[in-house]
């Protein structure tokens, strides 16, 4: 047998320090943080209650309308309706609505926080050089690592689930907002500045509209990542379709896991198609000006 790697440094001290430091934060600020995030929980609760209260046929009609207005394709709309019917028919409607509510809430938070961060990043090369490695780390860390600190802070439940989801899903929207703004034709930006636009007017009249297709692609990716994270987050009490999968694993019920898994795929397909179609329309609008 080969030699074991020598223990050069005793890392236990360091790990204890980190754990103790974090516990101290939890003990002293946990309640404050939880109170601060109360509104988020209320938003999520309201969305979930609303989606589950809404009669299923109204929800299906609404999503069909959304799909059609984005894609203008009867085929895609029909497919969305069939998929939603399937989810309802196998008895997963309420779970699916809980998942959608969590995903939408996380996406909304990620977009509201991420777009301004992306704009700041586009304006400062320094900030970009700091933020890019951080975003890379956030995207490569195993998903489960996010769960630990949030569960410690808030205990199992919806708040840590939504926060972990936001953290996991936010990098694409930041990254692509930055990229989109940086890719806007420099001469167009220069032109509007030469005619006396303030930095704010430059941003709102030129940079954001012209970066919109790229930003939409970022939102699309963020939505997809939020959906995948929501499933994992069921391990810490997010409920929804992920919980069905988890139960399937725990009880070794292949059918339960499979059906819930298919429902998740269907949701992903529907939301991906809607977001992509909107992105493509924004792109087309810029390209032809129609």
């Amino acid at each position: 047998m080969a030699d074991n790697f020598p223990e050069l440094v005793d890392t236990r001290g360091l790990r204890f320090a980190i754990d103790d430091g974090f516990s101290w934060i939890v003990a002293n600020y946990g309640d404050t943080l939880e109170r601060l995030l109360g509104p988020l929980l209320k938003l999520l609760g309201a969305m979930e209650a609303f989606l589950q209260w809404l009669p299923w046929y109204v929800t299906i009609a609404g999503i069909a309308l959304l799909t059609y207005s984005a894609s203008r394709s009867m085929r895609m709309t029909g497919a969305a309706v069939v998929m939603l019917f399937f989810i309802g028919a196998v008895g997963l409607w309420n779970d699916a609505m809980a998942t959608v509510a969590l995903m939408l809430a996380a996406t909304v938070v990620a977009v509201v926080v991420g777009i301004p961060l992306g704009i700041l990043m586009a304006r400062s090369d320094w900030l970009r050089s700091v933020a890019l490695p951080l975003l890379n780390i956030m995207q490569t860390l195993p998903i489960f690592v996010y769960l630990i600190p949030f569960v410690m802070l808030f205990g199992p439940g919806k708040i840590p689930a939504i926060l972990a989801t936001v953290f996991f899903a936010i990098p694409p929207v930041i990254r692509l907002t930055d990229l989109g703004i940086r890719q806007v034709d420099a001469e167009v930006v220069e032109a509007i500045v030469a005619f006396g636009a303030t930095p704010g007017q430059k941003l709102l009249k030129v940079q954001i509209p012209l970066a919109l297709p790229t930003i939409m692609a970022g939102i699309n990716q963020t939505t997809m990542m939020a959906l995948s994270m929501v499933v994992i987050a069921s391990m810490i009490g997010a409920g929804g379709l992920g919980y069905q999968v988890l139960q399937g694993i725990q009880r070794l019920e292949v059918s339960r896991g499979l059906v819930a898994g298919i429902a998740i795929v269907f949701l992903a397909v529907i939301f991906d198609r809607i977001a992509q179609s909107y992105g493509r329309r924004a792109q087309k609008h810029l390209a032809s000006g129609e």
Partner: protein
């Protein structure tokens, strides 16, 4: 040039690109050259002690090849680029002293710009693009639209106002760019290689249109180009820029016939002289008679002293020459300010054209006269004509 004529004065402007501008400036003041500065400090000298002034109502062309610093220089006039040192005075006011608020107001009302690749907003209509200046000025929408429509009509784009830029050809897009710049009603117009991206025919149409508009509006235009023909055609005065330094500032004629150094001389060697000289420097004055006065005795007497006689009846011109004293030949006419090159198509068909001065016939231009004038110019020997067209100035 009196002080009141000066619209823009550029006073010892330097632009250093790089992290150590102060060191680079010190090197320059110690007499270092651009390459030395780059080696010692890692900084690139963009502009090196630029000094000139532009008169009110003048078209001032800054000419140079790529990398000469011309696009850097034009961006100093509205502070899209800040100089490292020096002053730029517009109407006697140093624009470097302006605070952000003054600068915004200055950009909105006093100076406008046309860009090489047009710089139009792709998601807005032609009209929206055109009125972007007035809207930023805070003019009411109705007024702005009226103003915008007026400018679009001026550049010949009436009826296209609700199209989008991508639906237009390059020439039309640049006319939108021009209309947008005119709509702010600023006195100073910056044109950064405005016609360089257009194909040759469209380019010359645009040049004529600019001259037309300039004759009416009398703006102060700073025009950047890398094309000497364009510079000679449009510019009242021309500045030649090389490696961030001004090599020569002068009228087209001065540049053509008294190049300040080898660089400028190499530059002008290939110029088309027929576009640099106007008919004024070449034509000969001859008597003008009406149809009633043109009796045989009288014309015969006149033809002994003059090469030809013009018989004018209304807008129709006939020319009697000593070789054909009996037959008055109908010929075309050109304006005295037209270039010799413009007379060539007519001279290819006829021996002579009538030259019109201030609306009345004044003399004739024959093939021989045109060739002689060109050969005089090519040898650098001047005719006695007073300054008029770009190249005639030299012939004093």
């Amino acid at each position: 040039m009196t002080a009141s004529d000066v619209k823009i004065q550029v006073d010892n402007v330097y632009k250093i690109f790089g992290n150590r501008p102060d060191d680079a400036m010190a090197e320059l003041h110690a007499g270092a050259r651009k390459a030395d500065v780059l080696q010692k400090t890692g900084c690139i000298v963009g502009l090196n002690g630029i000094d000139f002034s532009v008169r009110s109502g003048e078209t001032f062309v800054i000419m140079g090849l790529s990398g000469s610093g011309k696009s850097t220089l034009i961006r100093h006039f509205n502070r899209l680029i800040e100089p490292t040192a020096g002053r730029i005075l517009v109407d006697g006011r140093n624009i470097m002293d302006m605070n952000p608020k003054d600068l915004l107001a200055f950009r909105r009302t006093s100076i406008s710009m046309v860009f090489q690749r047009f710089g139009l907003l792709p998601h807005q209509t032609v009209l929206e693009n055109t009125i972007c200046g007035p809207i930023l000025q805070g003019v009411s929408r109705r007024e702005a639209v009226a103003l915008g429509m007026e400018q679009l009509e001026l550049v010949g784009l009436k009826g296209f106002e609700s199209r989008f830029p991508r639906q237009l050809s390059g020439g039309m897009q640049q006319r939108v760019g021009l209309a947008r710049a005119l709509a702010t009603q600023a006195d100073v117009l910056l044109m950064d290689e405005a016609f360089s991206a257009l194909d040759p025919l469209i380019k010359s149409d645009m040049q004529e249109q600019l001259k037309d508009i300039q004759a009416r509006l009398k703006k102060t235009i700073i025009f950047i180009t890398h094309d000497l023909d364009e510079a000679l055609h449009l510019g009242d005065r021309i500045a030649i820029l090389k490696d961030g330094e001004l090599r020569q500032v002068g009228t087209g004629a001065e540049i053509l016939f008294h190049p300040a150094d080898d660089y400028v001389e190499r530059f002008v060697r290939k110029v088309d002289l027929s576009r640099a000289l106007s008919a004024y420097g070449a034509f000969t004055k001859v008597p003008v008679l009406t149809q009633a006065e043109a009796v045989a005795d009288r014309t015969a007497a006149l033809l002994r002293e003059h090469p030809a006689v013009i018989v004018a009846q209304g807008a129709e011109m006939r020319v009697l020459t000593s070789s054909e004293p009996d037959r008055a030949k109908r010929v075309a006419s050109i304006d005295v300010a037209a270039t010799l090159g413009e007379s060539f198509p007519f001279l290819a068909g006829d021996d002579a054209v009538v030259v019109i001065d201030s609306g009345a016939p004044a003399g004739i231009l024959t093939r021989e006269m045109a060739f002689k004038a060109l050969s005089r110019l090519a040898q650098g020997v001047c005719s006695k004509a007073p300054p008029r067209g770009p190249a005639d100035a030299i012939c004093a």
